[in-house]
């Protein structure tokens, strides 16, 4: 019983990894989610992926003490139910029980961002810090707070939605949640690309316009904006500065309310690195009481791709042990 399985069930892909109890990833397999084929199809696929993972690593099923899975959206980790996950089109799906039924292994689920931050806290960039605030910059922007090893959940497990702090004076975009000015409409991979496209449409000159002469500027991604930034493109520089500053303001609010000693930043959008982090840090320092700033460490995630798998495996191991 010395192994764990961790999963990240995303809107695009499912990744499933075998992890040892120290949090080392031994092997992983990946498949497209194909959420449109329905949750039953997805769970059958997950059952097959776990079979494959055990087969490819010669691991007897009885060696695995628990499966942990992170899914996006609102999760009830105590009942093991995915309450609502927009990009999987799941509402009130008993995810833990569906996986357990197909594998025979005790299964625990939680929100994917919480599992990512938990993974980074237990054996990543935030290891050894007592009060960790983690954010993931991806399609959206979300956060989780881990204090002395305990995740902070709040009512209906909805704490940490930093992407839905609103900045109506600075952000004109309407969010999928129904509000206008949500931080994640700019401070996310999609938000960075969207701002660049909008500036180009407004007539601003940019190297991106040339790069995308033969295709629609709709295909511009955050990675393209990073590339344009590196050749000093004024649109890309403006987008990164504006995004970093707003992210710094949002983090200032989170720091003042949570008082972390470490902020760990992950997700695909974190690949923008210092282009985003430099203006973010500057704004954060200006926007929090110096007593917070002085003892605050900020670092990128260590397991940028795998923190979610490692975190959900280790969290499941903890929860299974607590039941025995």
């Amino acid at each position: 019983m010395s192994k764990l399985i961790g999963m990240d069930i995303g809107g695009t892909n499912i990744v499933c990894g075998l992890v040892d109890v120290q949090g080392s990833l031994i092997h992983k397999v990946k498949q497209p989610t194909e959420a449109l084929k329905g949750s039953g199809y997805v769970f059958d696929k997950i059952g097959g992926m776990i079979d494959q993972l055990l087969r490819e690593t010669n691991t007897p099923r009885t060696d695995v003490s628990a499966v942990g899975a992170g899914t996006p959206g609102f999760i009830d980790p105590e009942r093991g139910v995915t309450l609502f996950a927009g990009n999987l089109k799941w509402t009130d799906i008993p995810t833990a029980e569906e996986i357990r039924r197909r594998t025979g292994i005790p299964t625990f689920i939680d929100n994917d961002v919480r599992m990512y931050v938990y993974g980074e806290t237990v054996c990543g960039a935030a290891q050894g810090y007592e009060h960790v605030l983690g954010i993931t910059i991806g399609t959206g922007l979300a956060a989780a707070s881990v204090n002395r090893g305990h995740l902070f959940y709040g009512s209906r497990y909805m704490a940490g939605e930093i992407g839905h702090l609103i900045f109506p004076e600075q952000i004109p975009y309407t969010c999928g949640c129904g509000m206008t000015g949500c931080l994640e409409t700019v401070a996310s991979a999609t938000g960075i690309a969207r701002q660049a496209r909008d500036l180009i449409r407004s007539g601003r000159s940019s190297v991106l316009r040339e790069w995308f002469r033969d295709t629609s500027i709709e295909s511009i991604t955050a990675a393209d904006v990073s590339k344009a930034y590196d050749v000093n493109d004024p649109v890309a520089v403006e987008v990164m500065n504006h995004t970093g500053q707003l992210l710094g303001r949002g983090l200032a609010y989170a720091v003042t309310l949570y008082s972390p000693d470490m902020i760990v930043i992950g997700g695909g959008g974190a690949l923008a690195g210092e282009r985003l982090f430099a203006p973010m840090r500057e704004q954060l320092q200006q926007s929090v009481y110096s007593g917070y700033w002085e003892r605050l460490t900020i670092a990128p995630a260590r397991h940028i791709d795998d923190a979610g798998i490692i975190g959900s495996a280790l969290a499941a191991g903890q929860r299974q042990a607590a039941m025995n």
Copy 2:
């Protein structure tokens, strides 16, 4: 061992109360703090107040299992040290040990606002709610979060400083903390009075100018602004609306990050009641995702004067029991 003592050590007064284990206040005594005479003087006075309390209630000292004290500022509740309390002029004072030495009773300390919110959670307006956010509107503005009976502390016990969320676009005032735009420079009793004075100085006509014809407008208090509001004074109405709206914005950030199911509002500034709460609620509803708003209860504190005493007594009882 069926009784507890709770204390609120403020910049102006010390209140000391005998509380039963259900949280009912049996009797209390009050004295001016006289902090300028030094912490030794204050602790001797506290020793005398506890003697008086026991004498006046015919309570044998051996019946009291613990003393709890809330002090303002930054506290280390684990070591029992007041790290910094500006309005007591205390830095690194071993408050718990000083009180224990003078009373012979195990003593525990914590931040006064956390104790206030804990008191309201255990046996006040927030009783029965799992995830409580409490704020106190007084000289300053502060918050505490209690989840399933556990206070949230953060690094160096500095979580919850809602008064230091900054709104630089809306608030021109410099705060004692060194930043400009801190919420508590407007959303506090002092902030309400200050805004009214500044509008009057800028030439706006107000009934307050007449009421304070013979004395300096410097003596205007938040209570005076409430009275002026009740006769439809345009300055008072503008101040209450502006303050309520900004408080609503600040609470929106706190709700999005903590996800409470109950917000309890206490402190002297809460006596403004609906004059402040109506614009606050309206702004809060507009500034959070509807999923938070739908299940949120907002209520004024029940023990508006005594929540701090009751909370520190009960918290001390809990901590003493946990040590046995």
